[in-house]
């Protein structure tokens, strides 16, 4: 039964769900193997103790917390951007929203795992949850880690709903086109969506409220992640700029991740017709804005510290600016500003490829930024006798690589089961678009096939 001529949008976007190439299986297998290596590394760490990681006295936080902040930052790609664009009713957002929101959900899940991975006794992590227990003790709500627990849970709940609710009409569409087990699964997941005007209206106004609610939550999440650092009087952590600085950095890295994901989808799922250069152009402009904002924050932070000349802060300042961490620091500056700025400023370079190059640079730069916020400060606390140094161990590196693999794998799998571009939203964007006339007999056949 050939329905392609009926609805090219739906057909293009649904195709990946029904046709899977050998390449997909191959790469999924490779990625899954890497993820399993990560799981094994974690098991190894739990068995032998967190000491297999490179953390030490006094650098109690290392790669794991770097990755935590990084992934939580990446998670700001989706829901926040999509919510903002939804509220300002930016038309070009329509093909972008879902692939962005998926990044949020998976990046949050991965990011939220890192605090667990880094715990000395991860099997007791549930003690962070507020519940009446025989221990008669509740979480300490003065601890930024408990704030994290609440903020991340709220954001994750919101983001998952924000992703799932608008997916229902598309699931219904697949239900109507699928047969066999797919029909059953998608039929169940579609919750009996029919597309009545009432349903559409509820969905639209519900999403409007969610968009309003999710924006402050997203801002609060990364602010609270920043609070994990700025609440401690550690040199160069104890800064009021950290909240907005982290939020800006999060959006910055989030957009970069989104651009890379979109470029990959465009190439691999042949979605050139839906993800236009203009999308990259627009996101590229946004990335440029965030790059400038990032540079502004860094300058404000550095200048304030330098001008204040407080000895313990200056120790950290010089360690990053000219000392042991300087190579990483200047790499970060190059990646976050020197590379993206010209690419994204010059119209000629702001192509799909250009945006992807800039985004890769930004991802590397922002990862380094998180590393450089955490480690140099801990290694240079005021009593110089207790200065230390940190080098990551194999377990930490394997786990980090595994989370990148997990992200790609989850994204691939998701795009296998759900149209990665919201079909109904795209159709709204393409109006008016009368469906191609369908022969009566085909309609009759559909009718017979209805659930």
């Amino acid at each position: 039964m050939n329905r392609t001529r009926n609805n090219p949008i739906a057909d293009d976007l649904v195709r990946p769900l029904f046709h899977t190439s050998v390449w997909f299986y191959g790469s999924a297998a490779v990625l899954a193997t890497i993820v399993l290596c990560g799981a094994a590394a974690w098991a190894y760490q739990i068995w032998y103790g967190i000491g297999v990681a490179g953390i030490n006295w006094p650098i109690f936080w290392g790669f794991y917390l770097t990755n935590f902040v990084f992934w939580i930052g990446i998670s700001h790609a989706g829901t926040l951007i999509s919510a903002i664009l939804r509220l300002v009713n930016a038309r070009w957002r329509r093909p972008v929203t879902r692939c962005a929101e998926v990044i949020t959900v998976f990046a949050l899940m991965i990011g939220a795992m890192f605090p667990l991975i880094h715990l000395g006794r991860p099997w007791l992590a549930f003690w962070l949850a507020p519940y009446p227990s025989a221990r008669e003790i509740w979480p300490n709500f003065r601890s930024p880690l408990v704030w994290d627990f609440f903020a991340i849970n709220t954001y994750l709940t919101g983001s998952v709903l924000f992703l799932l609710l608008p997916m229902i009409p598309d699931l219904a569409l697949i239900r109507d086109r699928a047969t066999g087990w797919r029909r059953f699964v998608y039929g169940t997941l579609a919750l009996g969506w029919q597309g009545t005007t009432k349903q559409w209206h509820r969905l639209e106004s519900g999403m409007q409220i969610m968009a309003i609610a999710i924006i402050p939550v997203a801002v609060s999440v990364h602010t609270i992640v920043a609070f994990d650092f700025s609440m401690a009087t550690v040199p160069m952590w104890h800064s009021t700029i950290f909240g907005p600085y982290f939020v800006a950095g999060a959006i910055f890295s989030g957009i970069a991740a989104l651009i890379i994901a979109m470029a990959a989808l465009r190439r691999l799922l042949h979605l050139e017709a839906y993800l236009h250069p203009v999308h990259f152009e627009n996101l590229g402009k946004l990335l440029l804005l965030m790059s400038l904002l990032w540079a502004y924050f860094v300058f404000a932070e550095r200048l304030t510290v330098w001008y204040g000349n407080e000895p313990s802060e200056m120790a950290v300042f010089w360690a990053t600016q000219a000392g042991d961490y300087a190579p990483l620091y200047w790499t970060m500056v190059v990646c976050n500003f020197v590379i993206p700025f010209p690419i994204l400023t010059l119209r000629r370079l702001r192509t799909v490829t250009g945006c992807v190059v800039a985004s890769f640079a930004v991802l590397i730069g922002m990862w380094l930024e998180r590393f450089l916020i955490i480690i140099p400060s801990l290694s240079r606390k005021p009593l110089t006798y207790s200065w230390g140094s940190y080098s990551p161990q194999l377990v930490e590196i394997v786990l980090m690589v595994a989370t990148f693999a997990a992200m790609i794998l989850l994204y691939m799998l998701f795009s296998k089961f759900v149209p990665i571009i919201s079909i109904w939203e795209l159709k709204v964007g393409n109006q008016p678009h009368p469906p191609v006339e369908t022969a009566d007999d085909e309609l009759a056949e559909l009718w017979k096939a209805r659930p």
Binding site: G54, N56, W57, L119, G120, R121, P122, L383, Y385
Partner: protein
């Protein structure tokens, strides 16, 4: 009246001999981590004698400074703990409840004095070194943060003994292991709430200052700086 335990470290007496360090290991069941782990920065010394060089050869001097948990009143390590493992107890001690600790190590970061130590692995005592362990001090498992307690086991014992006899703990009768061992008497421990105690009187010395005082953590350890020799004495 409640006790408020504090300490005075007289830097004019301290000779940097580190008797306090081993005394603490012996009293508090601190694990010996071994050379490999020590090389990775996992050595555990609840009390350390910091050494700072000043000047260059031959006009060189050394500053010793024993640093242990300062038992801060406004301890930065406490609030950041999500499980109340680190909190202020009724004697003003910065208590660490090992059983509650889930190992976020946030307290270790928040502590400006870096006096918190983490069990990166299960501590090992090669047989029969376990016979040296102090039965009054619990062992800490892998993944748990630990720190100087002011020898809380001794405080508890002294309190219950005093309570049984319905008296207050006499000044000087109770000492943590470090202060007890210190040959030069550089460490003076006692109740800051008792204005007549030696520690309270020494805390008021004009030689006194707190470590990183401007952070406002209200440490309960007072450092008495070295007394200078004046050429006029010649």
């Amino acid at each position: 009246m409640a006790y408020r335990w504090g300490m005075v470290v007289d830097l004019d007496r301290c000779t940097g001999c580190e008797a306090c360090v081993t005394a603490c290991h012996a009293e508090n069941n601190l694990p010996t981590v071994g050379a490999d782990e020590a090389a990775r920065g996992r050595a555990m010394h609840w009390i350390r004698v910091e050494r700072y060089w000043e000047g260059e050869f031959p006009d060189v001097r050394v500053k010793f400074r024993p640093v242990l948990c300062q038992q801060c009143g406004n301890a930065p390590c406490e609030a950041v703990c999500p499980t109340y493992a680190s909190h202020q107890n009724e004697d003003g001690l910065n208590a660490q409840v090992y059983n509650r600790c889930i190992g976020t190590r946030y307290c270790g970061n928040a502590c400006m004095y870096n006096v918190r130590f983490f069990n990166f692995f299960h501590p090992q005592w090669e047989k029969p070194l376990q016979l040296q362990l102090n039965p009054d001090v619990s062992l800490r498992e892998s993944g748990v943060m630990e720190k100087c307690t002011f020898c809380v086991q001794r405080i508890k014992a002294a309190k219950s003994a005093a309570k049984a006899e319905d008296r207050a703990i006499a000044d000087g009768s109770l000492q943590p292991a470090c202060a007890q061992a210190c040959p030069a008497g550089a460490l003076v421990f006692g109740d800051l709430n008792d204005p007549e105690s030696r520690v309270a009187r020494l805390s008021a010395s004009p030689r006194g200052s707190k470590l990183l005082e401007d952070l406002g953590a209200e440490p309960k350890i007072t450092y008495l700086h070295r007394q200078g020799w004046h050429e006029s004495n010649a």
